[in-house]
Amino acid sequence: MSEARRRLLMRTDWGIVYQNARDGLRMKVSAGANVGERLMAIGDRHYGHIRAEAVDWLERVEMDLGRIDDLPATFSGGMQQRLQIARNLVTKPRLVFMDEPTSGLDVSVQARLLDLIRGLVGSLGIACVVVTHDLGVVRLLSHRLMVMKGGDVVEHGLTDQVLDDPQHPYTQLLVSSILPV
């Protein structure tokens, strides 16, 4: 696939949510512009329309609309992560990659973010590849699961099946390492 085509896919059919929101956001422009960027990148040249989409998406990720013209640098980690998700979903991608979307967030924020991701993925019919080491997140979000070690897939299957009956020693180690609350 040519690079031009690949980069077009990155702006349209694919979305990437980075572990560190700073990698996925444009930190020097406002939240609204961050959401609008992908629309402008695919040729939207109507300010009113871009603005309306930005408002709509910030609402969907439960952001305070009073912050639409603020810089992402002034946001908390959870807000930055939600902004990143809005920014990716605005062009209605079909496949979204998420790299540790909840790591580094405090647990209450994690829970709301997971709820949000699950809701959006369900309602928009998006396929989502989530990389995480948090087995709680895995159980909540995913239908299918791949366990990787040293760059290789060591086990894969339905999430419940793998977590409840791990076959590979590494998966067994992972599952048995969860701290009981």
Binding site: R26, A33, A41, H46, G48, I50
Partner: protein, 304 residues
């Protein structure tokens, strides 16, 4: 006030060609360098708006003072050319005077203040008000040739963005202006799209001058010495300023006319005339203003 101080050499007519200095090659640069620059210019003209890398030389003036423009002028000037140099529209500012003298000495060419008499006009930050013709070349001095630079610091990435026509990010900065101020506030170096393809920095001319670039009969050449880039807009090429459908491109307007010549259609500079802060608005294009005054036009003279 720059517009009324008579320039030492500023005879209104074309000055006679002065004697050329001994010991320098014609127009300072050696022939191999001029050839290299001309090759780059040919490529630039063939691909309007594309930034062509070139081997920028050390020039006897500091970066930021027109080292790019001066090399382009040196590469295209011939003994029969008549050179005009302007800085912010005026012929008598330091930068313009020095560059004009430089070519008078090293190339022995005739120089002029009159836009209509010039065959090559080197400019910093303005396009003359008098429409240019097919027989003229306009050379711009460019500090930052990359319009995407502020949004994307990596050169490798900006080149890729140009190659793939990924220009959405240009509109992000315009969006920011409207979100913050209700209108596009960028007033100079306003990005343009050339020939429907490359997004180009028009050099820090006021956006008032942007419409003049569109389908201009004269050849427009741009030189950035420090950044080592050349680009060009061939005659009669479409140059469109970026905007939004619901926030179209607009130029600056003034409530008053020029205080000296009464022009209502030229770019005006605000000039403070005393210690009390009294101000007047005068044409930034000193040649245009003088010609109008010579033709009998008069402004209201500004503050009494």
């Amino acid at each position: 006030m720059p517009t009324v101080i008579p320039h030492p050499t500023a005879s209104t007519a074309t000055a006679a060609a002065p004697q050329r200095l001994e010991g320098y090659n014609f127009a300072y640069l050696d022939e191999q360098t001029k050839r290299m620059i001309r090759r780059a210019l040919l490529k630039a003209v063939a691909v309007p708006g594309y930034q062509v890398p070139f081997g920028s030389r050390e020039m006897p003036l500091p970066y930021g003072w027109g080292t790019g423009g001066i090399q382009v002028t040196a590469a295209v000037i011939g003994p029969d050319d008549t050179l005009k140099v302007i800085d912010q529209g005026a012929d008598d500012t330091t930068n313009a005077v020095n560059i004009r003298r430089f070519f008078a000495k090293t190339a022995g060419v005739a120089t002029t203040d009159r836009t209509v008499d010039a065959s090559i006009i080197q400019t910093r930050h303005r396009i003359p008000e008098t429409p240019l013709t097919e027989d003229q070349i306009l050379v711009y001095q460019v500090p930052i040739p990359e319009p995407l630079r502020q949004l994307e610091p990596r050169e490798a990435e900006t080149r890729k963005m140009h190659a793939l026509e990924e220009y959405g990010v240009m509109h992000v900065s315009l969006y920011e202006d409207i979100a913050k101020f209700g209108r596009i506030t960028k007033s100079y170096n306003y990005p343009v799209r050339v020939n429907g393809r490359y997004v180009m920095a028009p050099s820090p001319i006021p956006k008032f001058d942007n419409p003049k670039m569109d389908r201009m009969p004269a050849l427009q050449l741009f030189g950035a010495g420090r950044e080592k880039r050349l680009y060009a807009v061939p005659p009669y090429t479409e140059v469109k300023s970026l905007d939004f459908e619901d926030h179209p491109f607009e130029v600056e307007t003034w409530e008053q006319d020029c205080a000296l010549c009464g022009a209502g259609d030229s770019y005006l500079d605000e000039v403070i005339v005393d210690d009390k802060g009294t101000r007047m608005f005068v044409c930034s294009d000193s040649d245009y203003c003088r010609e109008r005054r010579e033709a009998g036009h008069q402004g209201d003279g500004g503050p009494a």
